[in-house]
Amino acid sequence: MSSKGPVIIMELPEQLKQGEVKTFMRELQPLLDSPRPCVVLDCSKIQDIDSAGVEMLLQCLELAMKRDGDLKLAAVSPASAIILELMRVDRLFEVFDTSEEATRSFQTFAPVVAPQSQPWYSAGYGLADLKTAN
């Protein structure tokens, strides 16, 4: 697992099947329970995925969305893409060629510095700013 700013990148195991799913989910669960989780799942190592694996991806997506976050897939091999298409879930995920691209896609939507036209006490300024102003 690695992180780039608020985005957490996790590598999925080679086998994403019934046995491996629980272990991986245990690892991922705390991350998804945090507020606004931004998770990229790197699928480059996946060699075999079954319906339990797909179900896990959907569970993760559901958990991320519940907390106003998102889950994106990166480096999905053609074989895995075929399984996702077959099970009609491909359209539910944003899929990127690399985990860097997926990470960047989160940053585009990150909140930016408040524009000059807004008052100094609007969102984006903290308590320290308020004290300095006084």
Partner: protein, 353 residues
Amino acid sequence: MRLGAIVVIGATGEVVSQEKTRISLLNAAGTGKNALVGEPLACVEIAGRSMTERTIERLLAAGVEDISILVSEKAHKPEFRARFEDVHVQVVSDVPTAIREKLNEYAQAEIEHCFVSAADAYAETDLLDLFYFHREARQAVTSTFDRHGALALWVVVCAQASEPNFEISMGKSAGDGASYFIREYVNRLNHPRDLRQFAEDTLRGRCESRPSGKQIRPGVWMDEKADVHRRARVVAPAYIGRGSEIRAEAVVTRFSSIEKNCCIDCGTVVEDSSILANTNVGIWLDVCHAVVSGKRLLSLSRDVTVEISDPTIMRQGSSCATNSTRKRNKPIASVTESINDFKKEHASLRFWQ
């Protein structure tokens, strides 16, 4: 004038039997066992019958009296749906030698001319016209070609087989003799993609050959004992093979062919795909632009073959994973139960719907 025919299954490559006598028989790709189906593509049923069977039908229709099917010992022995009386299947170790021996045998039986063909070179040419062309050209071997090149179909003078310079070759350098140009439909079966192409061509009416079974409504062909649930949708043109079952809410559309003893489970969509014999496709799936055989799926759009280890998605076998709808006493109940069970088990998969 008596005619014979030799149809070869499963020989690959070029075999040099004698000096200057080259029997360069078959384009290797399509005749060997295929990774998707595990048998030569010429033996795979598509739209109800294999290419080998269709070739035999054409030969018999052209008045060929004796047909020999030579099967390389490494290849799968073909099974035919129809009973052909004058067709003899022989497993051989050395295909070129076997052809030579067979031609000599024909010559002794006073069969003067013989068609020699690779089973995977399916050509809907007028065989009699080809034969007359060969006779008028007065040559030992007449080769054929179409707009894509040489074809593994020849006409041979049987008595010439024992001559030292006798040659059958795929290439253009096959002697100085005249070659016969085939304008009609040809399918070379080099790749499983060609099976899919043939299914589509058959259903579209691009070739003479038609699917087996009956046309129950325009463009929808159903074979013996095929069972389509009343809440399933089959969009023309499509073919449902014998003993196959299409379950409730399933959709078969865009020139798809479901071969014998398949099961398409509830809610699954089969679009522009061929499901080869004895394949079970699970519940609520999308099979698009693919050829499926057992647990292997070839995606034509990605040109990738995937082996699916999860038997609930796809598997080899002739019965559906859920209860059969063929028990007519409770068809709707069983299907509804199976859908409900599935929904309970996979509650998180509600996105699918």
